[in-house]
Amino acid sequence: MEAYLAHMLIIIGIYAVITMGQNIILGYTGLFGIAQAAFYGIGAYTSAILALKLGLPFWVGLPAGALAAGLFGWLLGLATMRLGGDYFCIATLGFVVIVQQVLLNWEALTRGAFGLPDIPRPSLWGFSFDTRLSYCLLVWVLVAVLGLLMRNVADSRLGRAFMAIRDNETAALGMGINTFLVKVIAVSLGAVYAGVGGVLYAHYTTYIDPSSFSVMETIIVLCMAVLGGMGSISGSILGAAALIFAPELLRLVGVTGSLSIYRQLLYGIILVAAILTRPRGIMGMAEFRFQALFKGGPWIREI
């Protein structure tokens, strides 16, 4: 039972990180970019390949994967930023398809559809993160770190620039913000988060293959961001939790049949229902105040 719970928490943590990245792009900056699955895949494969072919440890793979993803985010941002909203969205989807195709076909590097097995679990000074519990801790430490980082970004000049662009790009331009640069940074930063998620995923499941990094995957992340609250860190975590638990609940209730089809059906319904009834998601743009646990006061902080 604990193993199951730990497993769930690990998956939620991984998706929470990726969703935070999505929120930086979509929630903070208002860019309808949905390429997270591609960046997630790039992070995963980078770390896996470094570990398997060069024997580099997780602690090298993690920043490497994150940076690789960030680099591709930067490039994608540069290439697509002059497109209007609708076209930008399609371009990012196209990028996911392209990356998945490359992962499938560049067999010399990625072994194509056979995937990369036997990715090692991380180890630190002799201690190996073999158990679910230990890995869960690792994941959530990173979630906390990245969450804190995201909050610091939000409160910084860069974060305010993101939100200014979201609220009114022309006004932001008029205020002297280099909107092009800031938007590309947003995509790149979001990609970094996804890359971290990818590395965590690869070293947890110890096997990756291109099928995990599909258009559907990127839409799931979108769902989590929308549901949780576009622009909220706690929302990212909540959205991920909700969407990972929901199909499990379905299964407990006894909904049989191909799980993935019903799960995807659910995602479609959630997307539509969420936007129609509560477009701000569960948390909207508010954050859970951890200080409330210690010092009292309101539980929710509005940005």
Binding site: G85, A91, I261, Y267, L271, I275, L276
Partner: protein
């Protein structure tokens, strides 16, 4: 030379179908400035409903087809009413997200109901594919039917939009959505009608594909949807004649590319065209360059 003509003929056939689907995209975008991501799934619904009516209910082709068109037109109207209309005045993001949601929903609904395996599509006897050879090029009767039916629909739509009152209402709404109601145009009716027509035509496209490739599957909407969208952009999104031209062109390009470069390249061609368009000429062939006014 005959190789070239052969690919041309095949390209025109497929292109006609792409054009029909592209019309739905372009009409909706023209009026609402919104890309209906779910349109590919509407086309798939047409194929499946047609398949269902003909194989499970045993209805003859000439009854099943109009019924399918009506059913899918209604589906389009219902989707607009539930998922897009409430968001008409909201931010740009809302309808895009719901469109993706609807697309996923429809695709998986079809998979849940019909299963994920492709099904063969029944061919009525009067459409039996007789093969002709003209100057070294092999044609079959179904290709001719598809081409002429598509042309007929396109001419019909063009006449409707340009020579009827309702068509005028649609054009007016396209020009200025806020002023049109002041002129006595019922916005809801016009929009519903646009969705109905676009969806009905796409349904026909779905049936044609079922007949031509003898196969329907729940995932058949994604790629053709993307290709048809590219066709719409190629022709100038929002421009009905452009969609027709764009569809034909893409069909031809796809087949020429598959024939002369490689068949694996087929899927990539539409993508390639789309990327080129987005980078160099977003307005497409017949579109106008729009300057954003602050």
């Amino acid at each position: 030379m005959s190789e070239f003509l052969q690919q041309l003929v095949n390209g025109i056939t497929v292109g006609s179908i792409y054009a029909l689907i592209a019309l739905g995209y372009t009409m909706v975008y023209g009026i609402l400035m919104f890309i209906n991501f779910a349109h590919g799934e509407i086309y798939m619904a047409g194929a499946f409903i047609g398949w269902y009516l003909m194989t499970q209910l045993g209805l003859p082709f000439l009854i099943a087809t109009p019924l399918t068109v009506i059913a899918v037109a209604l589906l389009g109207v219902v989707i607009e009413k539930i998922a897009y209309r409430p968001l008409r005045h909201a931010s740009r993001l809302g309808p895009l997200i719901t469109a993706i949601g609807v697309s996923i929903f429809l695709q998986n609904l079809a998979a849940a109901i019909f299963g994920t395996d492709p099904r063969p599509f029944p061919l009525p006897s009067f459409l039996e594919r007789n093969i002709y050879e003209v100057g070294g090029v092999i044609l079959d009767s179904l290709q001719i039917w598809i081409f002429f039916l598509s042309i007929l629909i396109m001419i019909g739509l063009d006449l409707y939009v340009n020579h009827t009152r309702m068509g005028k209402a649609m054009r007016a709404t396209k020009i200025n959505k806020q002023v049109a109601p002041l002129m006595g145009i019922n916005l809801d009716t016009v929009i519903s009608l646009v969705f109905a027509i676009g969806s009905g035509i796409a349904a026909l496209g779905g049936i044609m594909v079922g007949l031509y490739y003898n196969s329907v599957s729940p995932t058949m909407g994604f790629m053709p949807g993307l290709v048809a969208f590219t066709a719409a952009v190629l022709g100038g999104i929002g421009n009905i004649r452009g969609a027709m031209i764009g569809g034909m062109l893409i069909g031809i390009l796809e087949n020429l590319g598959a024939g002369y470069i490689s068949s694996g390249f087929k899927q990539g061609i539409a993508f390639f065209v789309l990327i080129a368009l987005l980078l160099f000429r977003q307005e497409g062939i017949m579109g106008k360059v729009e300057r954003e006014k602050v």
